[in-house]
């Protein structure tokens, strides 16, 4: 590899990442632009660039986005939200708990941003009706969404990327991360309920008004709902059985999406135009950018340095990656971070005699839970804040951090103990 290619490649990578972090230009535009520069300056060929794109990640994301976009048309989420608010008899503390559970479960199956887009608008309407400040609910939902998303392969993009690279499947994520996330979730919600106890009070009249809501009215298309739930169930069963049936998760998601389009008879254009193509192209650009570093040998260089630093100790590496991922992900976009770390950990683990599974779990936990720490820590947080602010309620950076950052630290302490006890 000529030196000028090495210098140029590293320069393009660093400048692109700085531009992504600065958020001055749309992250997708700059990632694809940077990827284009890598090819134009012959850091890697077009064929190499395309081979670096992880189509398992993209396929899984697109497939699930199609399914979710159809399900959301049915009004299912509004139905569940109204039903749970009525189950809570309009009692704000119970609603906070039920909405947090709903958010966490939905986030485990859908991506976090989609979950937030479904749950926050409903929360705002319910809070309006109950004459409550929605901020405690929104903060609980942001945290629940990140925690729920961390529990499964399909819940958060870092997990999709880790799964795509390592072959760790849906069941592996459930078995290894779900128990930890359940504990973290319970502790987080209990503390949040305690912290916000004074704001969670509503009057009898507004409760009565809320109880007059009819959840059945929320379902817009019963037939479509039945079909969508059937396909979602089949798809999730497919994820669970993916190893047994020897079909990768992206193919399962894409097949689920195609099947739902087929049986729902919804115009594909209508659904496909709602796919978050900016996210898909962002991923594609990142894969090429990070792939360039692999071609240049930069990843190998840093892998060797990390091995030197940790002396090859899995325990040290797991803890370093867990805590470093947490702090970095709480302030920066975790997607480019994980996109870079995935080939790095793969390179470190090549030829190792021990299993690197704990390191992968540490990366996943740190990247996903780190996002809960600040209001800019994850896309879902930023979207939730945007919607809430448009509704007239401000969630300040430090106001959120004062509550969420200590909770994030507590969850990482719990995760450290979990990894040390069960894996190291």
């Amino acid at each position: 590899m000529p030196t000028e290619h090495l210098v140029m490649g590293i320069l393009i990578f660093i400048l692109t990442y700085i531009a992504i972090v600065s958020e001055k230009i749309h992250r997708t535009v700059i990632a694809v632009f940077g990827a284009g520069l890598m090819i134009l300056f012959h850091v890697l060929t077009q064929e190499e660039a395309f081979s670096k794109i992880d189509f398992n990640t993209l396929g899984l994301l697109i497939g699930m986005m199609v399914i979710v976009n159809i399900i959301r048309q049915t009004g299912l989420f509004q139905y569940l939200a109204i039903k749970s608010a009525k189950l809570a008899k309009g009692e704000p503390t119970k609603i906070l708990l039920y909405f947090s559970i709903l958010t966490a479960v939905a986030s485990a199956l859908l991506d976090n941003v989609t979950t937030i887009l479904l749950v926050v608008p409903v929360t705002l309407v319910i809070c309006d009706t109950l004459e409550l400040n929605p901020i405690p609910f929104i903060i609980a939902e942001i945290m629940s969404s990140n925690i729920g998303g961390a529990a499964t392969l399909i819940g958060d993009p870092p997990n999709i990327m880790i799964g795509g690279e390592t072959g760790l499947n849906f069941d592996d994520f459930i078995v290894n991360l779900l128990p930890l996330m359940v504990v973290v979730f319970i502790i987080t919600v209990v503390i949040l309920r305690f912290l916000f106890r004074k704001s969670l009070v509503s009057n009898e009249e507004s409760k009565k008004l809320m109880l007059s809501f009819d959840e059945k009215k929320a379902i817009t298309d019963h037939k479509l709902l039945r079909k969508s739930l059937f396909i979602l169930a089949i798809t999730i069963t497919g994820f669970v059985l993916s190893e047994l049936i020897e079909v990768p998760s992206a193919s399962i998601a894409m097949f689920g999406a195609a099947s739902l389009l087929l049986i729902s008879k919804i115009e594909p254009e209508e659904v496909l135009e709602k796919i978050e193509w900016t996210t898909i192209f962002f991923f594609a650009g990142l894969f090429i950018l990070v792939g360039s570093l692999e071609v240049l040998g930069v990843i190998e260089f840093f892998a060797a340095k990390i091995l030197d630093l940790t002396g090859g100790s899995i325990t040290a590496m797991t803890m370093i990656i867990l805590w470093a991922s947490t702090f970095l992900s709480s302030f920066l976009d975790n997607i480019p971070y994980v996109a870079t770390m995935v080939p790095l950990v793969t390179t470190i683990s090549e030829g190792a005699l021990q299993t690197y599974e704990p390191v992968w779990w540490a990366l996943s936990i740190g990247a996903c839970l780190g996002g809960t720490g600040t209001i800019i820590g994850a896309s879902a947080n930023v979207v939730a804040r945007g919607i809430t602010e448009k509704h007239g309620y401000k969630i300040s950076f430090f106001g959120y951090m004062k509550i969420a950052f200590p909770l994030m630290l507590l969850s990482i302490v719990i995760a450290s103990v979990y990894l040390l006890v069960f894996y190291l």
């Binding site: 009215k217 209508e270 919607i387």
Partner: protein, 163 residues
Amino acid sequence: MNRYIESESSQHVMKLVQMGGDVKVVSGKLFYVEFQVSEQLEVAYVYHLNKHNKFFLERTKPYPIPVREFDSADAICDIIKIDVEQFKNAANSHHLEKFIDINSEFHNMILTFEDLFLYYNVDHATFERIQQDIDDIHKRINDAKESASRVYFGKEPDYLEDK
């Protein structure tokens, strides 16, 4: 931005459905069109283009008025073309300002009449008197047509002949 529109839209749907409404959200493109037909006169329209073949055209300037509902998107540009031509023609009239003032008054009158009905229990005789006044105005408009010379021949009037 789409995310925020989606969020806003689902809040609206939820509130309206719970109020008992039957809500259909139609995606499409909203057009705002403005024509500066003379130095003093601006004509503006708004319409929503969608694939459900129901198009609502509304003129927003010089005074707001729903124009029509169409089943074909092509008809909208034709109607706007004629409308703008007519206003270009009307812009030469010395009575343009008065015409716009009277139209605005008609519009305000509809709103005040609505307030009267929605906020007060009005007796039958008042409605009868208002109806009579409106009939008189209709008659005056039709009489005026008989004695005035026609200035636009691009198409036939939509309403005047029926009265």
